[in-house]
Symmetry: C2
Subunit: 215 residues, 2 copies
């Protein structure tokens, strides 16, 4: 009885050694998420690592007033050590993850992950690389917030979004404002300025990006 997702896992994570692939297929759970679904809420495992097979996740921080901001996106082949999320809840804030597109994720219980660290070399390289990559992405987000003004942050945001899901940005101004922890009116005004430069065209509920580099 082969796990039907085995091939998908192998394709997205070709670096894993064969026995590890077998173990993953046997012991972990693949979960399908619709756009908008929250990863934490659906996860049966409280502390799990997540491998993304298909789709797109956004990982964001939320404080207790409901304010949020985008940390980074996860693409297929990426992982997010959910252990980070579960431990990293200070009194006030929490890390959350949500599907942006319909997605397939592999949930790996924290305990298994730790066993594999010792057992499978490719796994431990993968985990360390994941931490490092996530760290660097977070650092980039931080940079843009600290050093840049909102119009530059918006540009950075749009570029990143185009990278992960193409030049048709299907978001309302309100959603963008949320991701940047700003307000709709401000984002609207900045977007309009960008439209006037010819970098993009605004539509209802989506933005057509032409060229963000020349701005």
């Amino acid at each position: 009885m082969e796990n039907p997702n085995k091939e998908a896992i192998h394709k997205q994570f070709p670096q894993f050694e064969q026995p590890l692939l077998d173990t993953i297929s046997q012991e972990s759970v693949v979960k399908h998420l619709e756009a908008g679904d929250s990863v934490i809420e659906t996860g049966q495992y409280i502390r799990s690592n997540i491998l993304l097979l298909k789709g797109l996740l956004k990982v964001y921080r939320e404080d207790d007033d409901g304010n949020e901001f985008l940390m980074y996106y996860l693409e297929p082949g990426n992982a997010c050590a959910l252990s980070i999320m579960c431990t990293a809840r200070s009194e006030t804030s929490q890390v959350k993850a949500k599907a942006v597109q319909p997605s397939d994720v592999v949930l790996i219980p924290q305990q298994l992950s730790e066993q594999w660290l010792a057992k499978y070399k490719t796994w431990h390289h993968f985990v360390i690389a994941s931490y490092r990559d996530r760290f660097e992405e977070l650092l980039q987000t931080l940079d843009s917030i600290v050093f840049k003004s909102l119009d530059e942050r918006l540009l950075f945001y749009l570029k990143r979004h185009v990278q992960v899901s193409g030049p048709e940005i299907k978001l309302s101004h309100q959603q963008i404002a949320d991701d940047l922890n700003s307000s709709r009116e401000v984002i609207s005004r900045l977007l309009k300025k960008l439209e006037q430069t010819g970098a993009l065209t605004l539509h209802r509920n989506y933005i057509e990006v032409h060229d963000l580099e020349k701005v």
Copy 2:
């Protein structure tokens, strides 16, 4: 010929297994830093991990205009995967580390670190835990920048500083402004407000903290 720092290493990193301690003593270099010394510049090894034996380091981000902001402090027993620093130089910014107090650091070449990951269980746990801890601290910094206004960020900054080096904060207003990527005048005004609440007393070149919690 015993490495005289072996005992210090053992004391700060008691979780390390004996063979690992031996290897560290033999193969790594302990470097003394005076307050203000930059870690990168003194490091003979380009890509190294750093273990802090004594003192206090600050790790900060700097963009190409010379603006900077504090990411977090490192205390004895902490480590900073310097590999992060070396790879994490985007076009614009760079991670740097500087001694705040006279400090002793152990420099571990990246190559050795990677060998040890497979060889010593306590090392690989340590590295993973370090990544996680640094990640969470960075997340806290990010929180304070995104969700809080400057007066709250200043409070957060002062609290953290008190935690790592006591209630006598030996910094000029300018230095604090740099760490928060703000300007001296603004910090001066906010500090004055805090003084009026009785939370601290201002002096030339240092601040005497009484109680930051009640503010």
